[in-house]
């Protein structure tokens, strides 16, 4: 059991494809996506149609990969898309996977 970081990105489903294309390039070995709705600075996103849905993307990775992804997102998406990011600590089984 080893410590890793879990980076959670909650953003518009419109950019899911753009984002996941980048994740691997930035060093993530995997990710998990869940459909979500919510509310934030850019208003209520009720998830009832295309333009109104969120995804929550979890990436378990090491600190430096997390950092790279955060930097990438902040440069490319922060300003223009509904998006939040946060990190937490997780203890992973089979650490070689992450």
């Amino acid at each position: 059991m080893e410590r890793r970081r879990k980076l959670t990105i909650i953003t518009e489903s419109a950019i899911e494809g753009l984002l996941t294309d980048q994740l691997e390039r930035l060093g993530a070995k995997g990710y998990t996506i869940v459909e979500a709705r919510g509310k934030g600075a850019r208003g209520v996103r009720t998830g009832d149609w295309d333009q109104n849905m969120n995804v929550q993307i979890d990436i378990i990775c090491d600190e430096s990969t997390a950092h790279r992804i955060v930097t990438y997102c902040s440069e490319h998406y922060y300003k223009n898309y509904a998006m939040i990011l946060y990190l937490s600590d997780v203890d992973v089984i089979r650490p070689e996977k992450f």
Partner: protein, 317 residues
Amino acid sequence: MTMIDNLLDPTILFFIVGIVAGIVRSELRLPEAIYEILSIYLLLAIGIKGGLQLSTSKWSAIVLPCLGAVSVGLVIPVIAYPILRRLGKLSRPDAAAIAAHYGSVSAVTYAVVLSFLDKLNVPYEEYTTVLLVLLEIPAIAVGILIARLRTAQGTISYRRLAHEVFFGKSIYLLIAGLVVGVVGGPEGIAPVKLVFIDPFKGALAFFLLEMGLVASHRLSDLKRTGVFLVLFGIGMPILSAAIGTVVGWGVGLSIGGTTILATLAGSASYIAAPAAMRIAVPEANPTLYLTAALGVTFPFNLVFGIPLYYHMATLIH
């Protein structure tokens, strides 16, 4: 048919049921999976219907109207952009994105104008779905170009954008439907007619219920987006429809066909354009274009626009 008659059409009634549900904050919600499958169904069905018609049309008769449609699609955003910039004082990305929406078309509004004409027994050219498809694309391209040229913008390659536009759900399904319809022909389609042709209007009614719900959420944004967008959302379609009417008449369309081209011109996209713009012009605020297209223009066209454009087409002929 008066506007009141149009208002009492059950398809429109479903839209109102949806709007009212949203306004009174009813618990009614359609699952997203249903929104998704209804929109896939409608796009495919429109395409197939168009394909069936194409399979029995002479190609030579189509060329001129097609050119007319494309030029309408190219011209509208070019007209809309300066209006949005100067009168609306909107930022460049916002103006470009909204312009693209109004140049592009609403497949659902197209379906409603067909059922409007059917009800009045007004004949129209069989290949109008081709015009729909042709009108979807150029305006989005022009909108992206304006945004690119006018703003220091460009994280995403043109290749990716082209992919987004041509292989986006909306265009892909319309074209796929067209091909299925052309290749299958009336006989081939017969066994699936009960699913892809006959229930079309009922499915459309259901979709309008959903769009009413979605549009009603947009209404509350109207206060924030201001009076200009409301005026634009009503004025622009009338202007575009006028252009569409003249071009339709010019390329020799019938009264029905002219009404359709005018309606296409006057409609604003909310499937293809929002998806493309969100990625192509990220700085554009979606609240603005969605509220204008869905909260103002779409209901306006359903209730007032279509009868008006029909009237315009009758006058010019």
